[in-house]
């Protein structure tokens, strides 16, 4: 029993950290967030060259064949760097759902180009009800054709394929097919653009193993939690640095316990979210029976902790923290988007209740 990272996991994490430190500096993040898609083809090619776009997919589809724990380590570093663009939506969201729901032939069609860096994808789940429970989805395909509207679809404008969760299964739509129209939604997170997608009698390919959806969403959720942990760590690091250098009353403000204790709480929250994310990743990798609970616990905790850490970080920075020029609000915006994506804390607490209270009663 050993809950530390292995040597190869540490190498993967460190090389990802180094990669993002070189390729994804804040100047580039800020430049991309001002564009309409926050996507940079050169950055995408570099991610693919590292093998990151195929990290969890089997080698027979051109992937690296690593596990959910490794995906989580990569996403943590991406989150620390506030990576803009479609890595999350392509690999961890649509990719994980494709991996869980597609037949071998379908995986060859969709995952192989993603691994090569030639294609991007996203997942369309939410509708006007804004419910993350797939049972609340209303859109349905008929005779292999789909009509309806999906909302809050990340990175849809740069996606080649849109994986659509419908009442009758999980389908793939060619994003450039006639009848698909994509329109921006002005989300708070400037580095992850959201869109509404309308389907007007669009041809779909139905994934053969639609029952895999919950597994795919669990992997996506855990990856998102890990990305949030990276953002929390960065917010903590920036805040501790600031508390060491900013002086008031002739001393660094980090001398004052009111500030120190905020930092200590940020540390506790970040470490706890990290423990929960790693544990969830492990249960998914091992296909352990408590995976569904572990994923909901991680998302529940990180949704609240991500917001709390952001609040504390900005508070420690005082007026500087409230400026556009300071980077904290970019992480704060991402944290708010992450909080709701794939279900907020209230949503997952109810899930946990169903899994542990109702199971106990029955």
């Amino acid at each position: 029993m050993q809950f530390g990272l292995s040597e190869s996991q540490i190498i993967l994490r460190d090389s990802a950290r180094e990669f993002f430190a070189g390729e994804c500096q804040m100047a580039r993040v800020r430049r991309l967030m001002e564009t309409s898609t926050a996507d940079d083809p050169a950055l995408w090619s570099a991610l693919a060259a590292q093998g990151y776009t195929g990290i969890i997919f089997a080698e027979e589809y051109g992937g690296v064949g690593l596990g959910v724990v490794e995906l989580v380590l990569l996403m943590e570093e991406a989150g620390r760097a506030l990576l803009p663009g479609p890595l999350f939506s392509t690999v961890a969201l649509a990719g994980a759902v494709l991996d869980a729901c597609a037949s071998d032939a379908q995986k060859k069609t969709y995952l192989a180009p993603i691994c090569r860096g030639d294609a991007r994808a996203t997942l369309a789940l939410l509708e006007s009800s804004a419910s993350w429970d797939p049972a609340d989805v209303e859109v349905v395909s008929r005779g292999g054709r789909l009509t309806g509207e999906k909302l809050f679809v990340p990175d849809a404008a740069v996606a080649d394929w849109i994986v659509v969760v419908a009442r009758d299964g999980v389908h793939v739509v060619d994003a450039k097919a006639p009848g698909v129209s994509v329109a921006p939604m002005s989300g708070m997170d400037l580095t992850r653009k959201l869109y509404s997608v309308t389907f007007a009698d669009v041809q779909v390919e139905t994934l053969d193993r639609g029952a895999g959806l919950s597994r795919g969403l669990q992997v996506a959720t855990t990856a998102l939690v890990a990305e949030a942990v990276g953002g929390m760590q960065r917010t903590l690091d920036l805040s501790v640095d600031y508390a060491k250098t900013r002086k008031q009353f002739g001393k660094p403000i980090g001398t004052f316990q009111a500030v120190q204790h905020q930092c200590a709480d940020m540390y506790l929250e970040t470490e706890s979210a990290r423990s929960a994310a790693y544990y969830a990743a492990w249960t998914l990798q091992e296909r352990a029976p408590d995976a569904a609970v572990a994923v909901s616990i991680a998302k529940m905790y990180a949704s609240d902790a991500g917001r709390a850490v952001g609040n504390r970080g900005i508070q420690i920075h005082g007026g500087m923290g409230f400026t556009w020029e300071n980077d904290l609000h970019l992480y704060y915006r991402r944290a708010k988007s992450t909080e709701t994506t794939l279900g907020d804390a209230t949503f997952h607490r109810e899930r946990i209740a169903r899994l542990v209270i109702d199971a106990d009663a029955s």
Partner: protein, 395 residues
């Protein structure tokens, strides 16, 4: 990362499970109504049974009566003990704090003299750290020890001493150099509680129990061979003890919380709220789920911490988050229990209407001490701020 038990760990667990199934006394929780002395004698006997079976001191060296196993096996031991509903061991501080301190800092002679008797509960230990004027500011303590021939003469007062009433020995921190800066003039002594001049007085806590004590020292002579580590370097020894307290002490607690959580869920199925079981009330469901999740995160945090300690050999200052987490979580858990039980939550042991024989009213009051004992939450946050995050000292 591999959270599956290794073959060796599995074998250890199965062997332990079988032993516990045969040896854990039944219905022992009903003995809580006994007097403190009678109950403690029972706990000592239970620890002796564990010792005789070879199950005390899992990760301690075999030379001193331990099993020489890994820290992970020690963790498995605490978990299995709790899962089996076994009584706690009597020598809580000897096992958790004094023993590890002696293993790290003691002389060969001290290890040979004390460790086995800690494991067998033949000698019960307490910790003389806090004083009336030295709580969070522990290094400001004033109990003094003057060298006189080949012994130290101790004068002063300690307070909040858990198990003082039962202790045969005390790990005592004293000031040996009043002229030195406060962290530099301290020494750790092992004091026989039967030495003339040691007086133990009971302190009644808000739960009504007298779990802890004041101890007065008047010209108490302690042989100089009872110094642990070096003279005037007792701060390092004391901090070593406290790191164990924060880092590894919570392992058994997690399973106890888990049992409390399971019991709360069971109660929620029975207690009525607005004409239906509380387990169907959306607000109660949210609160129970939050608490359930935190108990699980406590376990994940501990597992990561134990893996780190296994790799480095010693607990570090980051253990302070475990202390904050378990203490604050228990207060939240007990509060949720109170909300669930409503008016019944306040009923104490002895009232025939009390749920679980008053365990929840006791738990609520007892939990209030959690964020104070073993270093207040404020001190733990200072430790994280300074020693983990590298912020300047605030005092």
């Amino acid at each position: 990362m591999d959270l599956n038990l290794t073959a060796e760990e599995l074998q250890f667990r199965d062997e332990l499970r079988a032993w516990l199934a045969a040896h854990v006394p039944s219905n022992w929780e009903h003995r809580r109504d006994e007097s403190l002395d009678t109950h403690f004698a029972f706990l000592k006997q239970w620890q002796r049974t564990l010792y005789d079976g070879g199950w005390a001191g899992i990760s301690w060296p075999t030379d001193y009566g331990g099993r020489g196993a890994s820290l992970m096996q020690q963790v498995i031991f605490w978990q299995e003990l709790a899962l089996a509903g076994a009584p706690p061991m009597a020598n809580v501080l000897g096992l958790g704090l004094v023993g590890p301190t002696l293993i790290a800092f003691g002389t060969e002679a001290q290890k040979a003299r004390y460790l086995r008797k800690i494991l067998s509960a033949e000698e019960i230990w307490c910790q003389g750290f806090s004083e009336p004027n030295a709580g969070s500011d522990l290094a400001g303590l004033q109990t003094e020890a003057r060298l006189d021939g080949d012994s130290y003469v101790v004068n002063g007062q300690k307070v909040w001493t858990s198990y003082g009433w039962a202790a045969d020995w005390c790990e005592l921190v004293v000031r040996t150099d009043p002229a030195a800066p406060k962290h530099k003039g301290l020494t750790v002594l092992l004091v026989d509680m039967k030495t003339p001049g040691v007086e133990v007085r009971p302190l009644r806590q808000m739960t009504g129990e007298t779990e802890f004590n004041e101890i007065f020292f008047r010209d108490v002579r302690v042989p100089s061979e009872n110094v642990v580590g070096r003279v005037n370097q007792g701060w390092d020894v004391a901090i070593g003890t406290l790191m164990h307290e924060r880092g590894t002490f919570g392992a058994g607690l997690q399973i106890a919380y888990k049992r409390n959580m399971d019991r709360l869920i069971e109660l929620a199925g029975k207690v009525q709220r607005g004409g239906r079981p509380a387990a169907q009330d959306p607000v109660i469901r949210q609160k129970l789920a939050q608490c359930y999740a935190e108990v699980e995160i406590m376990r994940a945090n501990q597992m990561r911490a134990f893996s780190r300690i296994s790799a480095t050999g010693v607990p570090g200052p980051e253990g302070s988050i475990q202390k904050i987490f378990w203490s604050e979580l228990n207060q939240r858990l007990q509060q949720i229990a109170q909300e669930l039980l409503g008016a019944y939550g306040q009923l104490e042991a002895g009232d025939h209407r009390a749920i679980d024989r008053g365990a929840w009213s006791y738990g609520y009051l007892r939990a209030r001490g959690n964020t104070i004992e073993a270093g207040t939450s404020e001190i733990q946050r200072n430790i994280i701020g300074h020693f983990v995050l590298g912020l300047p000292r605030s005092y």
